[in-house]
Symmetry: C2
Subunit: 337 residues, 2 copies
């Protein structure tokens, strides 16, 4: 029997066992377990890897615990602005949406961009017009917003505003003239409580019973995000990539560094052109991201069922369920399958 | 003396010598020559490759002959919506803008996103708010629009509307219910006059006297574009990529296929991981694009001064000027350096 199964992630960052309450720990494990089960059920019944990716990512999008769809972080304008992408390893077809504000499950819209439009990437209101055209009901942005994220935005704005000392504030303002500071990190700037120093993007890679791969990623981007910033999640080749001939990859982290390193395709290219094994290729690529200064992690799976879940942060929400193989959810750096 | 120089392109497509008037032929050659000269002057005086890319692309953006900035194609709403990206091979820093409507030179804004923000990609009105913040004067969208492009949009809409026969129109409409047709090709749908069956994106790759590479691309996307479609030009790794260790690439063509093939990084990865020469790597990648059904071309340059300008269309607007090497502009498939 050829292997089938999936990996998921719910973000990477400063996740120290000592700083996560038992209740939050349990809630995260439950949500990851539910997402794994939703995806695995699709694969077990013979459905395509794409369906497993959509099913698993939907669960994580619907959970308020992760930075995607319901529970996403807020922009500087106090809105949730969502990006997602999906790719079919069988055909290398792909779909992505960036900056949507009224789509309950962005991963589903990315799938529809792939399968029901001639395009790969649709951005902003245009993507929502497409959604309406094919029958989506747009949801109010309030649906995505949670009190926890509103508090994070308030803290981020306080940190951005800087000290009350008017001289220091003026200096900080001057520094911003040439270099427009927006925010340091997805899902919370430096200096915020530990639970917020993480990247909350969610994603899934899957291998179906027919040997086909798929990858999908969904995110709310950065707390206090400005200027229509787009991260790596909806960039095919960077945060999301799948090709049956090599591997499927979904990343989470400081998106700018993941874009510059073309993370997903860089891993696939090492398999294709240097015939390196998956885990070694992923480690090499993540080391390049780290050398640029980037933090985060990724999940990757090949058509033989080899997989890896590396991260250069203290922890990463993650899970794996392979037929006849490991079945586990993990949060911290000291856990392994 | 180490080599330095640059390549440019102004789009690829159906460019048959017999179908281009002598006046248009001459105007295109003049504009390409001017763009090459603007970039080469930067390099000759010791300026960075990035400056040459911006200088050359600005000339092509300002010319009404190409599908970028002034003279860009129109969306279904009758507006010009512009994408651009730039990448620094020295640091792998990158900047990109998507869907801007009031930025005279999108390549300059992409440069400023790279150098004056913490981000790689800004989209839509957010990108324009960033531009204003750093001192840009927004221009009216009318500045970009030309009568020729308005005519192209009218023709595209007529073709889209289909035959006057009400039965056939109803059938065509039914076909659109499931599969939302937008347009077949950048810069003009199938069935339009030959001059419009091309991809008008512009781009430049440059190698400076210090051995550093850079790449930049700018486009107006597709005639009759809907739904906020984003093509490959602003996608780092696809339409635009540069890394001193491998090569600089700028592409033009049916963007969806170039995104799915991660064109720029796929060429670079063959150099890095399979140690293939540049021209062979580029040919392999373009063949992959073709195998998916995509048409277009690209320019690529490595740090040793090796270069290639392949396309799988009848012609491509292109030019090359290398120190101590070729200096030529070409339009058709039967011209070579």
């Amino acid at each position: 029997m050829p292997p089938f199964g999936l990996l998921i992630h719910g973000g990477a960052g400063v996740l120290l066992r000592s700083e996560v309450s038992p209740a939050l720990d349990q809630a995260c494990r439950s949500a990851l377990t539910e997402a794994l089960a939703a995806g695995y059920a699709q694969l077990e019944s013979g459905r395509p890897a794409l369906d497993a990716v959509v099913a698993a990512v939907r669960v994580l999008e619907d959970s308020p615990l992760f930075n995607a769809a319901h529970g996403a972080v807020l922009t500087a304008d106090g809105l949730c602005e969502l990006d997602a992408a999906i790719m079919d390893g069988r055909t290398r077809a792909a779909g992505a949406v960036a900056g949507v504000k009224h789509i309950r499950n962005p991963i589903a819209l990315a799938y529809d961009v792939m399968t029901r439009s001639e395009h790969v990437m649709l951005a902003g209101e245009g993507a929502e017009r497409f959604a309406e055209r094919i029958g989506y009901a747009l949801v109010d942005n309030d649906y995505f917003q949670t009190e926890r994220r509103r508090q994070q935005l308030r803290r981020a704005k306080e940190i951005e505003a800087g000290p009350a000392d008017p001289l220091k504030a003026a200096q900080a303002q001057q520094e911003r003239v040439g270099f427009v500071t927006v925010d340091d990190h997805d899902d919370g700037p430096q200096g915020c409580p530990a639970e917020e120093r993480k990247w909350g993007t969610v994603g899934c890679v899957a291998l179906d019973r027919h040997g086909h791969l798929a990858a999908g990623t969904s995110t709310g981007g950065m707390t206090n995000k400005k200027f229509g910033r787009v991260g790596d999640s909806p960039i095919i080749g960077a945060g999301t990539y799948a090709d049956d001939a090599t591997c499927a990859v979904s990343a989470t982290g400081h998106g700018e560094f993941f874009i510059r390193s073309v993370v997903g395709h860089d891993i696939a290219a090492q398999l294709a052109y240097a015939h390196r094994p998956l885990a070694a290729a992923a480690a090499t690529t993540l080391a390049k991201v780290g050398a640029l200064g980037g933090t985060g992690g990724l999940i990757a799976l090949d058509a033989q069922g080899n997989f890896t879940l590396p991260f250069n942060t203290p922890g990463m929400f993650r899970g794996v369920h392979l037929s006849g193989g490991p079945h586990a959810v993990m949060l911290y750096g000291d856990e392994s399958t």
